[in-house]
Amino acid sequence: MTIVERRIGDVTVLDLQGRLVFDEGDRIFRARIDELLEQQRLRIVVNLAAVTYVDSCGIGSLVSKFVSLRRKGGDLRFVHVTPRSNRLLEITRLIGIFRIFESEDEAIASFSSESAA
C-alpha cells in the first residue's frame, strides 16, 4: 500500500493505492492518519479509486480512524469507492455511517460548509 498525500486548504486528501489488508496495508493507513491527528489535520478525504483489495482488517482500520477523527471534531470522508469496496461497506453496514462522495471536489466542499474543526 502506498499513500500520496495532498493538502487543499485545511482538507487533506489521501490517495490510497494497493491492498488495504492485514497487516501491511492497514498498518500504513493507521500510521498515516495518526500522523495527521498529531498535526491537528482532522479533515481527511480518502480516495479509494486505486485500492484493489480490502479485507476486514482494512475495514477495521477505516472504522477505527473514522472514530478517532470524529472524536476530535474531524471526519474521514470517502471518494471514488470502487464497486468492490462499496459492496464490503454495504455488507458491514458502514455505508450509512461513512460519508461517500462521487467526486473529490464535492468531498472537499462538504467540509467548507462546516465551521472549522
Partner: protein
C-alpha cells in the same frame, strides 16, 4: 535489567516452552553433539566440557566430556547463570566468585575453578543452555580460544535448529496428508499449501485460488468472494491461531469438484475458539468496532462454513452459479 518478577516468570515460562519444542531433554546421545563438546574441550584445553540444557529445576547434558552425572540440580548449575546473559560467561576462579564460591561443585567434587559457558540461543531469542568448558584450576581463555568457542556454539545452535526443523517438517507433513485425505476423490483440481504465519505469505494462497477459479471460468464476483473469504480465514489463522508467530504454519487446501463446487480447508495450530461466541458485527454497539468482521464476512461470502477441531479447522464451500 530492571525486569519485574512477573516479566521474569513469564519469560522463563516461554523459555521452557521453547526448549520443549526441541524434544531434546532426555534424548539419546548423538555424535554431532559429542563431537562439538570434544572439540570445545580440546581447543580450550580444559579436561571437561558439556552441552547443557537448562530445564525448570535441572540442567541436563546432551553431551559430556569427563562429566559423570547425566544431569545436576539447577540450583547448583553454573549454566543457569550463563543463560542469564548474552556472550560467553566466564568465571576465572569460582572459589573467589561471589556467586559461586560456596557452590557444592566448587567446594566438593568435581572441584570446578574455571568455567566458560557460551549460551545457546533459540530462534525466538531465548537461551536454552550452554556449550561450556571447565577446569579444576583457575585460568583464562586466549582470544583465539574464545573465538573458537563462539564458533562451536554457533555449530551447536545450528544442530539444535536442524533438529527442531525436522520435527516441524514432520508435523507439517502429517497435517498436509490429513488435509489431502479430506478432499473429495472426484476433485478435478486441487492444491495444498503450508505457509508461514506471515501476512506477506497470504497473497500466494489467494492468488493461487484466483488463478485456479479464473482458469475454470468462474464468474468474477464469485472469485472475489472466495478470495476474500480465504484472505479472512488465513489472516485469522495467522493472527489468532499462530498469534503472529512467523515460525508457525497455516495450512490450506483447495479443491474444485466436477460439479463445480469449491471446497477450502484452512487449519492453524492454535488454541481454537468457539464460533458461537463471536459477536455480531452488525449489532449497533459493534458497527463502529475496529475488529470482529472476519468470520461474519466468511459466513456471508461462502455457501457453507463449518468449524471443527475446536475451531482450529475451517471448512468452507461455495457452488459455481
Amino acid at each position: 535489567m530492571s525486569t519485574q518478577p512477573d516479566d521474569r516468570a513469564r519469560a522463563e515460562a516461554e523459555r521452557l516452552e521453547t526448549l520443549r519444542k526441541y524434544q531434546i531433554l532426555d534424548s539419546e546421545p548423538e555424535m554431532a553433539y559429542d563431537d562439538l563438546a570434544l572439540l570445545a574441550s580440546h581447543i580450550c584445553e580444559t579436561p571437561m566440557a558439556a552441552i547443557s540444557l537448562v530445564d525448570s529445576d535441572r540442567q541436563w547434558f546432551k553431551a559430556r566430556v569427563n562429566v559423570q552425572a547425566p544431569q545436576t540440580a539447577r540450583s547448583i548449575s553454573f549454566c543457569t547463570h550463563a543463560i542469564e546473559q548474552r556472550g560467553i560467561y566466564i568465571v576465572p576462579d569460582a572459589s573467589k566468585d561471589a556467586l559461586l564460591h560456596d557452590n557444592p561443585q566448587v567446594t566438593g567434587d568435581p572441584h570446578i575453578r574455571f568455567y566458560a559457558g557460551a549460551p545457546l540461543i533459540a530462534r525466538e531469542g531465548y537461551a536454552l543452555g550452554t556449550l561450556c568448558v571447565f577446569d579444576r584450576r583457575p585460568r583464562q581463555l586466549t582470544p583465539t580460544q574464545l573465538e573458537a568457542l563462539a564458533a562451536l556454539q554457533r555449530q551447536v545452535e545450528a544442530q539444535l535448529e536442524l533438529r527442531r526443523r525436522l520435527f516441524e517438517l514432520r508435523e507439517a507433513n502429517e497435517n498436509v496428508l490429513k488435509l489431502a485425505g479430506m478432499m473429495p476423490f472426484c476433485s478435478t483440481c486441487a492444491f495444498t499449501m503450508t505457509i508461514p504465519a506471515d501476512p506477506a505469505a497470504i497473497p500466494a494462497v489467494t492468488e493461487g485460488v484466483n488463478a485456479m477459479l479464473t482458469q475454470k471460468q468462474w464468474p468474477e464476483n464469485q472469485i472475489m468472494a472466495i478470495e476474500l473469504a480465504l484472505q479472512e480465514a488465513v489472516a485469522n489463522g495467522i493472527r489468532h491461531g499462530c498469534r503472529g508467530d512467523k515460525t508457525k504454519m497455516v495450512q490450506c487446501s483447495v479443491s474444485i469438484d466436477a460439479d463445480g463446487e469449491v471446497m477450502i480447508v484452512v487449519r492453524d495450530p492454535g488454541q481454537g475458539f468457539d464460533p458461537a461466541n463471536v459477536a455480531d458485527p452488525l449489532a449497533p454497539e459493534n458497527v463502529l468496532k475496529p475488529s470482529g468482521r472476519g468470520i461474519f464476512l466468511i459466513n456471508g461470502l461462502m455457501d457453507e462454513v463449518e468449524y471443527s477441531e475446536g475451531g482450529r479447522q475451517l471448512q468452507m464451500r461455495k457452488r459455481k452459479s
